[in-house]
Amino acid sequence: MFQLALARMREFYREPEAVFWVFGFPIVLAFALGLAFRNTGPGALQIGVAAGPGDSTLAATLDSSPRLVAAVLDSATARTRLRTGRIALLVIPGEPIVYRYDSTRTESGLARLEADEVLQRARGRRDLVAIRDDRTTAPGSRYIDFLIPGLLGMNLLGSGIWGVGFSVVQARQKKLLKRYMATPMKRSHYLLSFILSRLVFLILEVVALVGFGWLLFHVAVRGSFLTLAGITILGAFAFAGLGLLVASRAKTIEGVSGLMNLVMLPMWILSGTFFSYSRFPDAMIPFVKALPLTALNDALRAVMIDGAALTTLGAPIAIVVAWGAVSFAVALKIFRWR
């Protein structure tokens, strides 16, 4: 079994593409998303001032606010820019001053408040109550903090299903499975060798992704590393089992690819990898929560963000283990050995 697992690993690391998709891709994804959604707060908002009497004075006043960039625009340009979202707000000088904006857009609302504040203050409005801003950024509340555990879960799913599924079907297609059947090899050893080799790569995957998040975005693991390791191992087992199940009958790579997508795509969307699954209608939530990736993501986030202990994670862990055990058992039962 050791030799089988060793062979599995060699086949994997000698496939540069596979190595990229398992290790490189999630990191690239985390990097890109981390940059796009970094928490710098809203930057300066672009607003327009419609051409008209007193337009340049108005623009100068508005521009004096550090949070606004104002420019005088003719009416045609102003209309296009407002429509395409390049300016958040159009201020039309006159009596009264008109604010034109799309009230469903968050930054338009902000721009209106800020522009109004600046203009009213310029005309002499005074604060009636003393206030003080107390700005905080709570660690663990950023998007990247939410994302890294999700990517970890998604990566465990992907590498489990791809890694196991493709090698099994390839071996079946090349009649290698049949050749193994002609030796005294134990069937369960063959299947277990996949799980064993997954375990080794799992360590590398987790270290790479968590290490990357920590170095670049200071995503800390607030729970114990041991708990995190335990949960990722269970997740890897479950997904390797699912991968074996997906590959248990398929005779061609094309056939198994379709099945893999069928299994993975719903989970990528539903299981709260990139956004919280609480956005789905309430009726769907129990179903979504029963998916193994949802349970795994929940458990990973609980450990990484909230620092939860293993004992509080009974429900998601039970779901993950159940998926793994059932798919492994079914796979062993229906596996096509030739």
Partner: protein, 295 residues
Amino acid sequence: MVAVAGLDLTVGAGECFGLLGPNGAGKTTTIEILEGLTTPDSGDVEILGTPWREGAAGRALRERLGIQLQETQLADKLTVTETLALFRSFYQQSHTVDEVLALVELEEKRNARVVTLSGGQKQRLAVACALVSKPELLFLDEPTTGLDPQSRRQLWEIIRRFRAAGGTVLLTTHYMEEAERLCDRVAIMDHGKVIALGTPQELIATLGAEHVVDFALIGAVPEGLIEGLRGMSGVTAARDGSGGLSLTVTELHRTLPALLAELQRKNLELASLTTHHATLDDVFVALTGRQLRDT
């Protein structure tokens, strides 16, 4: 669909037994039933004195066998040594990797990846994977199909050495020449049935003659020619095949001049004429009326 029916064979210890026949004759089905990879619909199989069983008994039997399958492609990304180490790990008793590399003369390729090997080298590696278990009985399914003559001879040499060390071999082939050279006994198969069984010499002897004359005429073969030739002395069989006419004769030096004289008398001109010693190919043609290569 029934691929093989009514087969009754016994292979003795130390023997090299060949299953011969064209593609689709049922050779692979037969050998896979013997290997315990395919379960027969009916009938009994005993290997080394034991029937095939699931589980531990089956695995114990597999410890004593070496099997090479026709269509197996070994993992491309592994090296020769790694592949052999993997197969070796399945057995309780086995050759070391070095020993088995020496057996198949692949020492200089030990660190090459499987994907870089030539067809002949891949086939030798496949046989090495079968030999690594120190088998008592070696199954080879078309070990030399598609190989160049030199690689084929190398494989023959490996098989001869295995036998010299006391091993038993069961092989399938559609090369009659290979069977003649390697096998003590052969079974000729066609359409899932054994149509002849014996030593290559016995089978050739059933033709009743040692020589075969193949010839072709310029122009059409006239009516009654075949019947006429059949009546000539020393001719045991005459056949009109796709490539021309074919006579099986006992005494070439007497029949050949008579044949030429007969053709001249009928004003028939030869396009070609060749003669050879009768082979298993001729046995197959005599039994089925078809050339082995046509099928």
